[in-house]
């Protein structure tokens, strides 16, 4: 029985070499042990048997056949049993592994099949059945060529695969097409590997075909989307280019318009120059003529009319001056010749230039008022404008205050001109310093000024780094205030 088991064990190719070796050793060990036992016994018996008592002979027989023999047998069988157990455990693991392996193959969505050396199908998994529509029974034993479309077969598709297979031992990522049972062509990616037997000889090949139809369809869709996208990009680019062309055209038009505007601006400058010179020269002569005539003593009637001419010529002169100032401010050409100036001097000069006016003048320069850093002529112009406004908009003999002192904070000097006139409506207060703005008066008998004076005054004050504003109560007069920076202390 032992031998049978041993033979059986030996006959089966068991991968666990250790167990086989043990059993092989036992095959010799057991008979040897028995033989040795018999020889020892027989030798002993032949030498000493005669001198032994029956009891000794009995004990000796029991010892050898009853104890040693069974022990050797038990020991041997125990080893064999363990070896078999071990082998069965290993075989179970291997079978389980094979089942997994087989289920991977059989359950795969890819077509997996094997070919013999003549490319005849040997195995055929479920994936292959799904993809190609052949049940295993109808394809196993057939040449793999039945799966190759006619056109590819003619081009030697299989031959080229074989060449590469035998050259490298495998083919991977080979894109081709295969034919299904119902004549459809499917795109596949082929991976084929040579199979070798235990002796290393080639026994065939395994083939994995992955159905690429969906992937290619997806790729095609992506490509189509890409193309659509590219088309849209191209279309958009075309639109943008068109827009760009339109923009360039617009730009050209703007450049042309700008050029025209510049020409107009130059024309305006020329015109201002013309006004500057050609209008001032005759005004000079008119003023001078009037002045001479008046100084020569005229009859009263003529004198009144000459005074009117002189007055109107002065108005025209101021208007021309205002227009020139506006033009200079607009062109950013208002340049200041700044130097320390005494506020008292500035006020005196402004009052002197204003001339006689029937008003109750109250001039107050706070003691210790510092010098201002200013273009004296320009500040006199501002003061003159505020003072003449005060005269214009206040009743005869009313009080006008001209007050100068350090501004709160100390860095500036504050000038203010207060009249007791009609004041300025609240809604006008913010706008009176704007260009060409003039307060509308319902009771106005005549309109004074040109709406330029306060704008020019603001620009001059701001160019000095000062601020100008008005505080007013309609009907109760107005106070115009402005600040100028103080001059640095004289070294």
């Amino acid at each position: 029985m032992t031998t049978e088991i041993l033979r059986d064990l030996a006959a089966r190719a068991v991968p666990a070499r250790r167990v086989v070796d043990a059993v092989k050793r036992l095959r010799w060990a057991l008979p040897l042990a028995i033989a040795l036992t018999v020889v020892v016994h027989q030798a002993w018996e032949s030498l000493a048997y005669e001198s032994w008592s029956p009891a000794q002979r009995f004990l000796e027989g029991v010892l050898i056949y009853g104890v040693v023999g069974p022990l050797v047998t038990y020991w041997t069988l125990d080893w064999i049993a363990r070896a078999i157990e071990t082998r069965e455990a290993i075989e179970a693991r291997v079978r389980r592994g094979e089942r997994y392996l087989a289920s991977i193959t059989s359950g795969s969505a890819d077509a997996i099949f094997s070919l013999d050396t003549e490319d005849v199908v040997q195995t055929w998994n479920r994936g292959a059945e799904e993809i190609f529509g052949y049940p295993p029974g109808s394809i196993i034993g057939q040449h793999v060529g039945v799966l190759v479309p006619e056109s590819l077969r003619r081009r030697g598709d299989l031959a080229s695969i074989r060449d590469r297979l035998f050259a490298d031992g495998f083919v991977r990522g080979y894109r081709t097409r295969r034919l299904t049972h119902d004549g459809r062509e499917v795109d596949v990616e082929l991976t084929q590997t040579l199979l070798r037997g235990e002796d290393g000889g080639i026994i065939g090949s395994s083939v994995i075909l992955r159905d690429e139809t969906d992937r290619i369809a997806a790729e095609t869709a992506i490509r189509r989307l890409n193309q659509e996208l590219e088309a849209r990009v191209a279309e958009r680019t075309r639109q943008l280019e068109a827009a760009g062309t339109a923009l360039r055209a617009n730009n050209d038009a703007l450049v042309a318009a700008n050029h025209e505007l510049k020409q107009l601006d130059a024309l305006k400058d020329e015109f201002v120059d013309l006004v500057s010179h050609e209008l001032r020269a005759p005004l000079t002569n008119i003023n001078a003529s009037v002045e001479l005539l008046l100084s020569n003593g005229m009859p009263d009637g003529a004198r009144t009319k000459l005074e009117i001419i002189g007055h109107e010529a002065s108005r025209l002169t101021r208007l021309v001056q205002g227009v020139l100032d506006i033009s200079r401010i607009g062109a950013g050409r208002l340049k200041l010749l700044k130097a320390p100036a005494d506020p008292a001097d500035l006020c005196r000069t402004a009052l002197m230039q204003l001339g006689a006016a029937d008003r109750d003048w109250r001039v107050h320069i706070a003691p210790g008022t510092p010098a201002v850093m200013a273009d004296a002529d320009r500040v006199v112009q501002v003061l003159g404008n505020l003072l003449s406004n005060a005269v214009k908009y206040s009743p005869a003999a009313s009080r006008i205050d001209l007050t100068v002192g350090p501004a709160p904070g100390g860095a500036d000097v504050l000038f203010s001109v207060t009249d007791q006139g009609v004041g300025i409506p609240a809604e006008e207060v913010d706008r009176i310093f704007e260009r060409f703005h003039r307060v509308e008066r319902h009771d106005a008998r005549e309109t004074y000024g040109h709406g330029l004076g306060l704008y020019i005054a603001r620009k001059i004050v701001e160019a000095h780094g000062g601020r100008i504003w008005v505080e007013t109560t309609p009907g109760a007069g107005a106070t115009f205030l402005f600040t100028l920076p103080r001059a640095p202390e004289e070294p």
């Binding site: 001032r280 000079t284 003023n287 001078a288 002045e291 001479l292 200041l336 010749l337 320390p340």
Partner: protein, 236 residues
């Protein structure tokens, strides 16, 4: 050339303008004020008249055809230090400054009143009439400054300073009394004229201008010193 009006003889004024009407008006006005008047309708004639008539003052229009007022002034300055008042129809500050640095003594912007022009003419003539040390005093050296009375020039580090006539008069007046303090009134009378003694504002302004050009650090002057509450002096 002596342009100083003699006490008994009325001063001679040359008026140069291309506007014949204005020439006529100026002549009448100035003659009415007691001056002798010559006139010229363009710059070239003006220079000829300057040679022939040796006027005490030139009133020169800026805007003239062919040779304009600036060029005429430059030609005049090449040969004479006769006082010049410029008439300008453009009151741009650039014009104003340019006129001063080219050696104009004053300027009047059109339209001006005849009374104003006459007053300016009187002031400039009075200034010019005061004896000054032109030609007799050797150049004065103060630190890096050289004040050359004969050529009416001031050099700093050997470079001429672009002083206006008023600035030059202010500096040369201080230089003539170097080390001594001149009061505001003294300076006004000597630099601007007796009729200006009540205009202290001029002093402060022109001292400031002068320091901007003369001093290395105008905030810490080493030449033009302030004597607080009294006046100014040129430091030795």
């Amino acid at each position: 050339m002596n342009h100083h009006a003699n006490a008994g003889k009325p001063a001679n004024i040359l008026v140069v303008d291309d506007d014949a009407n204005l020439l006529r008006l100026l002549r009448e006005s100035l003659e009415g004020a007691g001056y002798q008047v010559m006139d010229a309708g363009n710059g070239l004639d003006g220079i000829k008249q300057l040679y022939a008539g040796r006027p005490d003052l030139v009133v020169l229009d800026v805007m003239m055809p062919r040779m304009d007022g600036w060029e005429t002034l430059a030609r005049i300055r090449e040969m004479s230090d006769v006082p010049v008042i410029m008439l300008t129809a453009r009151d741009d500050e650039a014009d104003r400054l340019r006129g001063f640095e080219l050696g104009a003594d004053d300027y009047v912007t059109k339209p001006f009143s005849l009374a104003e022009l006459t007053a300016r003419a009187r002031a400039v003539l009075a200034r010019a009439a005061r004896p000054h040390s032109s030609g007799t005093t050797p150049p004065l050296v103060v630190g890096d400054l050289v004040i050359d009375f004969s050529s009416r020039r001031v050099l700093k580090h050997a470079e001429p300073l672009p002083l206006t006539p008023t600035e030059y008069r202010l500096l040369s007046t201080l230089a003539e009394h170097i080390g001594r303090t001149l009061s505001h009134e003294q300076l006004l009378e000597r630099v601007w004229g007796p009729e200006y003694v009540d205009e202290p504002g001029y002093i402060k302004r022109y001292i400031w201008y002068l320091r901007q050009k003369v001093e290395d650090d105008p905030a810490n002057p080493r030449y033009v010193e302030t004597v607080r509450g009294f006046g100014y002096r040129l430091a030795k």
